[in-house]
Amino acid sequence: MKLSDLTNHAGEWLRGSGPQSEIVISSRIRLARNVSGVPFLTRATRPQRQVLEARVRDILLGAQVSPQTLYVDLEHAPEIDRQLLVERHLISKQHAAAEGARGVAIGENETLSIMINEEDHLRIQVLRSGLQLEQAWDQINAIDDALEAKLDFAFHSRFGYLTACPTNVGTGIRVSVMLHLPALKLTGEIEKVFRAAKDLKLAVRGLYGEGTEATGDFYQISNQTTLGKSEEEIISEFRLVVIPKIIEYEYHARKALINDHTIALDDKVGRALGLLRSARLMASEETLFLLSHLRMGVNMGRVKDIDIRTINELFLLTQPAHLQKISGKKLEGDVRRAARADYIRQRLNGN
């Protein structure tokens, strides 16, 4: 598999087919691991960093961990490829922008990605569509076991898995669920979700995780506590308590919109669709905003002739790196905005 094979379709997590996929876009679990006997990356020398990258890469490509793995050497990859991987949520922004020997292994239909030399030596991630935390945990747990058979992970009898940042120590787990909450945003009740999340020691972030704003009404809810709670406890809390509650709130807000503000709702959705189908220049932020309203309209049955999968794909494929890969050339400014608008019109009108 080559990197360019990825561009024309969305990854498994954007298929829009998983459980609760109207509201839950994706379920993500990542584990932070460090190799015993090698300093963390802030203190690793260049050769240590290179040796580690080569060693882990060989293990990952050795097929016993996961078959058909695509490995990208990020130190030498062009910027556009790194940006593409960020847009597909396969690497973090920090990993794309960093320097030195580092890489990512991608496998299992893009549900698996393993970053080497990010903040920790290894950051293993499983990303699946809809609410599939149990499946994600089974998958990542097996990968972790397979890696552990080949690598000694730094582990402490009291503190658990040791990580560069003490906020990840213990299980090293980060569970993140990406939610689409347009009705809570429109009714102004999203603040309640933020407050409840804060009380439960959960973080609310934007589309691309740490340090990003919530755009297009997408919110990523993640655990912050990693010590003193087992992986299963953290996951069940999300699966059985936190996420069902937020989904319930969002449905409640959607019902209120339909019952009490039908015209205003249809106006929002209709405007979004009208602009997306007719505009000639489209900025990426505006696209997210309009697609979000359209997605809500389709999910609430207000728009009938558009497939939710098309919208999910548009979220991904209209982003800068994807747009440039699809058109096969570098696009900037108005040229890029025009290409984006053309692509959206073509997808929505030809549907």
Binding site: F40, T42, F155, R158, T225, G228, K229, S230, S236
Partner: protein, 165 residues
């Protein structure tokens, strides 16, 4: 104001005096770095600036004394970056780290959960039953009271699973 070279916003303003003549240049960061060799470290995080300032003007230097004998990181360096230098730091700074960990992890200071079979073989209690059944039961009562039967059914399954597992 726009950059003299390109259309970006000018954020670097240079005044040169050459042969008694004053020359003003207005450049963006990139052009300034490229053309004038002005090194611009943009976006220094404010906390780093403040930390550097406070460190330089207070008695905090004393704390620099605690150094990891393996990676050489000092406690002060860790506090500044938030990142440790090696696994040994967890032992080296255990006393100072413990309150910090408790603050970050809801009071906890002991790992529970997965243990690697080889490197974690000794000293840790094996995986305990991980789902808190009493908590689930309490939630089940709540769900039944709220007549949320769908959720109640899910909770019942989870309890059954936890008790059998």
């Amino acid at each position: 104001m726009k950059c003299d070279n390109c259309n970006k916003a000018a954020t670097v303003h240079l005044t040169e005096i050459k042969n008694g003549k004053k020359i003003e240049k207005h450049l963006c960061e990139q052009c300034a770095a490229q053309n004038e060799g002005v090194p611009i470290k943009s976006h220094t995080p404010i906390n780093e600036l403040l930390t550097n300032f406070v460190m330089a003007h207070s008695g905090l230097q004393k704390e620099l004394g605690v150094t990891c004998d393996q990676c050489g990181i000092t406690w002060a360096e860790f506090r500044q970056s938030g990142l440790l230098g090696c696994s040994h730091d967890y032992d080296q700074f255990e006393k100072d780290l413990t309150p910090l960990l408790q603050r970050a992890h809801e009071g906890a200071n002991h790992h529970t959960g997965k243990v690697p079979t080889r490197t974690g073989a000794s000293g840790v209690p094996r995986k305990r039953k991980t789902v808190d059944v009493s908590k689930l039961k309490k939630e089940l009562t709540g769900a039944l009271e709220a007549e949320d039967y769908e959720r109640a059914a899910k909770l019942r399954d989870a309890i059954k699973q936890a008790e059998n597992g």
